[in-house]
């Protein structure tokens, strides 16, 4: 009797779920076909053909060659790279700053602890847009182009941006970065090779010096062997701005600073929570073994705190990527301003452009999630 009932229950639950699934699918189908019909009735052209047309608008900051003669697809790529650049810079800066604030927050020193606490509370209780507008206002309050602050006559800071010397041929920078990554990979391989021959992991030397060596040596080696001429271009003031070098536009600086400081406050709290989650017994054991407080933190507590930290840090990183879309407020040409903004307006292809932007953010977020999950999994396996 009871098996019969449970069988019935299972069947009805499967049926119910199937029904709901079918309804959801039907709703989506009808929504999309209705949208398609309405678009057709309204004579609105659809499809992604517009991507190959000439964009005809300027983008003030681009990592790759871009002119208004390039296509909408190229403009999309510029926007995507700008989003990624700002996100990566902000993630690195926010992690460093947040880590420092977080560790200061659990310090035994009363003053450091309170100062850090005050900073964190102030930063995280102010909305991100306010951070952004504030930083942008601050950057624009810098002196004008004709009164730029200069460092050794090669770096110039003014309210039109930060001008840095840069390689004359942009493509060499790409090769340099690629070689650095390759050097690090080789260093990593070397470490793994050595570790496989070490009887116990504890005896293995640290990895980071080898990685750093790889990243420095390989590009230098290739440079020496290939005989490439590297030419540095120093920015020179001419006309309304600076010629030569690279200009980091104020919009980008403000966006990076705002995202970094805002997110650092969250990362600091995640650090603090994770460090405080490590059992008190660990501190006592460390003291009993004669560890100094700095060494206790570095070698015992922080390594154990990393594991519980990862899921929340992942969330913060995802938020940084998504919040970089606020660049639209101050006119930084990232994904939302380029494809979701000017491209959308000029072509009128709202559904396509928004779908492209949504899909891209989704893909970036999934990749970050995946990477962090793999890292989390590996740390979990290593045990602590």
């Amino acid at each position: 009797m009871s098996t019969h009932r449970s069988h019935n229950l299972r069947l009805s639950s499967v049926l119910q779920q199937g029904l709901v699934l079918a309804l959801v699918a039907a709703v989506f189908y009808l929504l999309s076909s209705n949208a398609a019909l309405n678009l057709k009735n309204l004579n609105i052209a659809s499809g992604f053909g517009f991507l190959s047309q000439r964009a005809g608008y300027d983008i003030s900051f681009s990592l790759i060659d871009y002119t208004p003669d390039a296509t909408y697809a190229r403009a999309y790529l510029v926007g995507l790279l700008n989003t990624l650049l700002v996100s990566v810079l902000s993630i690195v800066l926010a992690t460093l700053l947040g880590g420092a604030l977080g560790i200061a927050r659990v310090s035994d020193n009363w003053l450091i602890k309170r100062l850090s606490g005050t900073c964190i509370e102030f930063l995280r209780n102010v909305p991100l847009v306010v951070h952004l507008v504030w930083w942008y206002g601050l950057v624009l309050a810098l002196p004008g182009v004709k009164h730029s602050a200069s460092l050794f006559g090669v770096v110039f800071l003014n309210n039109n941006g930060l001008n840095l010397p840069w390689l004359a041929q942009g493509s060499q920078v790409g090769w340099g970065v690629a070689l650095m990554v390759l050097g690090m990979l080789l260093g990593y391989g070397f470490c793994r090779f050595k570790e496989a021959r070490t009887p116990w992991r504890g005896f293995a030397s640290k990895r980071w010096p080898v990685l750093l060596l790889g990243a420095v040596v390989l590009p230098l080696l290739v440079y020496a062997v290939s005989g490439t001429q590297l030419q540095w271009e120093v920015p020179v003031q001419r006309g309304f701005g600076f010629k030569g070098g690279i200009t980091l536009v104020p919009e980008m600086l403000a966006l990076c600073l705002a995202l970094s400081f805002y997110s650092a406050s969250y990362i600091a709290e995640i650090f603090r929570g994770a460090i405080e989650s490590v059992h008190r017994g660990q501190y006592e054991a460390a003291r009993a073994l004669g560890f100094k407080s700095g060494a206790t933190m570095r070698q015992l507590i922080v390594p154990q705190a990393i594991y519980p930290m990862i899921p929340q840090i992942t969330n913060t990183y995802l938020n940084i990527v998504k919040n970089s879309s606020l660049g639209v407020v101050i006119g930084f040409m990232e994904l939302v301003s380029s494809t979701g903004g000017t491209t959308l307006n000029q072509t009128g292809q709202a559904i396509e452009c928004i779908a492209l932007v949504m899909g891209t953010y989704c893909a970036i977020s999934l990749v970050i999630s995946l990477g962090m999950n793999i890292y989390n999994h590996r740390i979990g396996q290593r045990g602590h």
Binding site: D58, V249, L344, G348
Partner: protein, 345 residues
Amino acid sequence: MHKLNRVKLLLGAPLVALLVVSGQAAQAGVLEKVKAHGSVRCGVAGDKPGFSLIDDKGRWTGMDVDLCRAVAAAVLGDADKVEYLTTTAKNRFTALASGEIDILSRAASWTAERVANLGVDFTTVWFYDGQGFMTHTADGIKKLTDLDGATFCLSPGTTSEQNLEDYFGRRGLTYKTVVIEKSPELYAAFQRGRCNAISNDSSGLAARLALMNNPQDYALLPEVISKEPLGAFVAQGDTTWRNIVTWTAYALMTGEELGVTSDNVDELRGNKTASTDIARLLGTEGTIGKSFGLDSDWAYRAIKQVGNYAQIYDRNLGQQTALNIPRGLNRSWKDHGLMYAPPIR
């Protein structure tokens, strides 16, 4: 019984949603919708002095606003029966094509590309404009080509980015752009020296300049690099509604041409010796109003409640206002301008 209700709900909710969604596929006429709704939903910019802005008494004012008010007076008999929705340069055409607003009166330029691709129809030109430039007086710029290598502040989603490229790119001049969506932030960035020049519709620039604290620090360049015929858009496919909006605008222009103002309209309507043109405009002769799906007093009410084109212009942009934008191309054709309404007969 309880279970049955749940199943009903489960099946019913999505079905209702479907009906709502698919209901928009088969559209009722906008005129019927407006009458049923009791108000005209008017999409405006909301931040453009002289065109659409809330004044210090909390009332909507401006050229764009008055066009919607005139339509509400003609259709519903009361110029105040307008519901204003602020739209951005980005979402304006989508809001119109999807039926969220009835009229887009937002100083949007009439271009072939928009009419061909965006599912919208243009009514008639309400203001002739062109893309102009404002610079810092201190930079001493006399003409547009002096701005080679300069940085321009622009608002997105307008034709100005393309116009700039057409002008500068084709002449081999270099330039950079900063594109900011909200007007206050855009003008703030320009004033703080982020850009050497700001480019927008000339009327908009003049309006902003008039409202600045230190107008002597900024200068408008004489060049205008594009044609920007601004006016109201309606959704494509509803000729009745398009006619009503278009001819309400024409009625206001005709009012100026025939000297019919909000002050003398009552007197002229009662005056049997007034010209037949005036009689046709005010509905004492002919059945034009009925043919549009309205009544014969449509134009009378629009002029009575909102004023004719000259009155509207003077009130919002004229000499008595802080903006003081000369009428230029927007004079009546009788005064050598471009405002020329087809005959109402």
